[in-house]
């Protein structure tokens, strides 16, 4: 279990309870269960307290939690017959973007998502979920295929942003992102996007220009990272707490702004404490949204998607 900075008091209590139980296992005469149970209760109360009203910056930390379920975990748990399809037919296969055919409750779907990796080796292989142009071009290819065979598209967004590298720029990072967003707007099949962790700027938009966008309770979606915003506007990267607050990047604020359609509940203490529940909740939401969208024909899907984005932002923080 990895603890976040603000969870330190919780780590202490849970650590103590664990220590006591370990001692008891070595020495059978000791009876510590009562004491340990009291510590458990204390920890549970504290957890509830900590997560009751997470600040925007804390949500950023939770959204980036290394133990949080990632794209691959969702694909493994929610879909059957997942068949990865690789490559942009042009330059390379980008491992930061997973994609392929799969079945959701027996129905064929195209699933595309950013994968961050879960240990040093896989994180490097996945480039920490930062896609290069090839990743977006692979996504474009898969969306085109889905459109051709009338298969709904489901995207799982979890990226700090597009990769800022020399090669990525030379091969047209901006053009690849722009084309991916454009493809999202052109396909005549349902497009559902779930932000499961970090929705980082243009790299996220390229997948999330969807008919319906859902967000996990503690995930974030923003035009720039709080650190980046702080260093530009505050001239001090340490002001990320203030920047996170000002950017309104939480699921709750984004729903008020009409940018996202649905918030998916996370288990107490965040998705990282109980991946299964989080993944199940995401699955139920995708199924429900897909049922909703399946009633619309091709033209309606395209037109409604466009209308939704054209109307976006007219309300402000009205709620």
């Amino acid at each position: 279990m990895n603890y976040l900075e603000f969870e330190k008091p919780l780590a202490e209590i849970e650590g103590k309870a664990e220590e006591l139980r370990a001692l008891a296992r070595q020495n059978e005469e000791m009876d510590v269960e009562k004491e340990a149970a009291a510590l458990d209760r204390k920890a549970a109360d504290l957890l509830k307290d900590l997560y009751k009203d997470l600040s925007a910056w804390r949500k950023c930390q939770v959204a980036r939690h290394p133990d949080r379920p990632h794209c691959k975990d969702y694909i493994d748990a929610l879909f059957t017959e997942y068949t990865p399809l690789a490559g942009d037919r042009n330059f390379a296969d980008d491992h930061a973007v997973m994609g392929g055919l799969a079945r959701l409750d027996d129905r064929p779907v195209m699933v595309i998502g950013h994968e961050k990796g879960n240990d040093t080796k896989s994180r490097i292989e996945r480039n920490f979920g930062m896609a290069r142009p090839e990743g977006y071009r692979k996504a474009i290819r898969l969306m085109e295929m889905a459109d051709k065979f009338n298969i709904p598209v489901i995207t799982l967004v979890d990226t700090p942003g597009a990769f800022p590298g020399k090669g990525a720029e030379e091969r047209g990072q901006s053009e690849a992102i722009a084309r991916s967003t454009q493809k999202c707007l052109e396909i005549g099949v349902p497009l559902i996007s779930v932000i499961i962790g970090e929705g980082g700027s243009g790299g996220a938009v390229a997948f999330a220009t969807a008919n319906k966008v859902a967000m996990l309770e503690h995930s974030v979606y923003s035009v720039i990272s709080p650190e980046g915003c702080a260093s530009i506007l505050w001239k001090d990267a340490e002001k990320m707490r203030e920047a996170a607050e000002a950017l309104r990047l939480t699921a709750q604020d984004l729903q008020k702004l009409g940018v996202i359609d649905r918030i998916i509940k996370e288990p107490l203490g965040g998705a990282q404490r109980d991946s299964k529940t989080a993944i199940d909740n995401v699955g139920q939401t995708i199924t429900a949204l897909l049922a909703e969208l399946s009633e619309q024909d091709r033209t309606a899907l395209i037109q409604n998607r466009r209308k939704k984005f054209l109307q976006m932002g007219t309300k402000g923080l009205a709620a």
Binding site: A162, P164, S174, E175, I177, G202, S222, K235, F309, M312
Partner: protein, 307 residues
């Protein structure tokens, strides 16, 4: 010391001195350091007459030289909600807006106009880097949508001059949402079969490049313009190596296949006329400075049986 030196002279000086010596008569070229007389500079569209360095030009000045006789009609842009997030960094967003308004005299970071360019009817939109770095917020999104809608309604091509540091952070996610919104505008033009030409000027970066600026039928850039998604400093910090000379400049992008052409500002108008007329299936243009449409005598079409 008497009352003349103490009182009369300072009063006279304060009345006249500032007006007598205007400060902006000369501009120093950032590139070669040549002092350029303001009239000479503006006649050359803010391009250094010595080294060819392209300095910033306001949308109004650009339109003045783009449209025949400098005549154009502004296209109204629906006003967005002001300060939707109640954003505050070291300054309040509305205060930053007021300062930008005061320093530029413009309402926002994009100007949209319709008119004729070499007798070719067009709609044009130009981004204003001097207005909060040309940043793309809801207004810029609305402006591009308004421009596309107007172009579709009139059946004209859209020419867009981009210049921006990226998205406007003070509008948070709503600035990010201008990426899909402006892409919808590009789709409107695409469906109507109308040309969409992007002229990328210095600098065009971030979310702007990753949406409408890279979705044109034709991409033309001004020489040496910085065009990128991630800025050079961010990349250097990430990969920890020095970037090659000219990286992310217009000529570099041309070499890497992201642009059709790099064209000096002074030749841009003629080139735009040539390209749009071909794409619109019109006859070759009469080039040069044409008077405003109203003053021009009607051009008789040649008789059909002419040799």
């Amino acid at each position: 010391m008497n009352w003349i030196t103490n009182y009369v002279r300072p009063t006279i000086n304060s009345l006249f001195s500032r007006r007598d010596v205007p400060e902006n008569l000369w501009t120093k070229c950032d590139e070669c350091g040549t002092m350029l007389f303001h009239r000479e500079l503006s006649d050359n569209l803010n391009v250094c007459t010595n080294c060819g360095h392209h300095m910033a030009i306001t949308p109004r000045a650009r339109f003045h030289s783009l449209f025949d006789g400098g005549i154009f009609t502004e296209v109204a842009v629906p006003a967005p909600l002001a300060d939707p997030l109640h954003f505050r960094d070291q300054k309040k967003y509305p205060d930053r807006m007021k300062a930008a308004l005061k320093s530029t005299g413009e309402a926002e970071a994009m100007l949209v106009a319709e008119g004729e360019m070499g007798r070719t009817p067009i709609v044009a939109a130009a981004q204003d880097f001097s207005f909060m770095g040309g940043s793309m917020g809801m207004y810029v999104g609305n402006a591009i949508i308004a421009a596309a809608e107007r172009a579709v309604a009139l059946g004209r091509p859209l020419i867009l001059f981009s210049a921006a540091g990226g998205a406007r952070m003070q509008e948070g996610i709503l600035s990010l949402m201008q990426m899909p919104r402006t892409t919808v505008a590009v789709e409107m033009l695409k469906e109507a079969g109308l040309p969409y030409i992007v002229v990328l000027t210095h600098p065009t970066t971030g979310g702007v490049t990753a949406s409408y600026a890279m979705l044109g039928d034709v991409h033309i850039a001004e020489p040496n313009a910085l065009i990128c998604f991630a800025g050079p400093r961010v990349i250097e910090q990430t990969i920890r190596e020095k970037l090659p000379e000219g990286f992310q400049r217009a000529e570099y992008l041309l070499d890497h296949g992201m642009l059709d052409r790099v064209t000096p500002r002074t030749e841009m108008r003629d080139e735009l006329i040539t390209i749009t007329r071909m794409l619109m299936g019109l006859t070759p243009a009469v080039k040069g400075d044409l008077p405003a449409p109203q003053d021009a005598p009607a051009v008789e079409p040649p008789p059909a049986d002419a040799p």
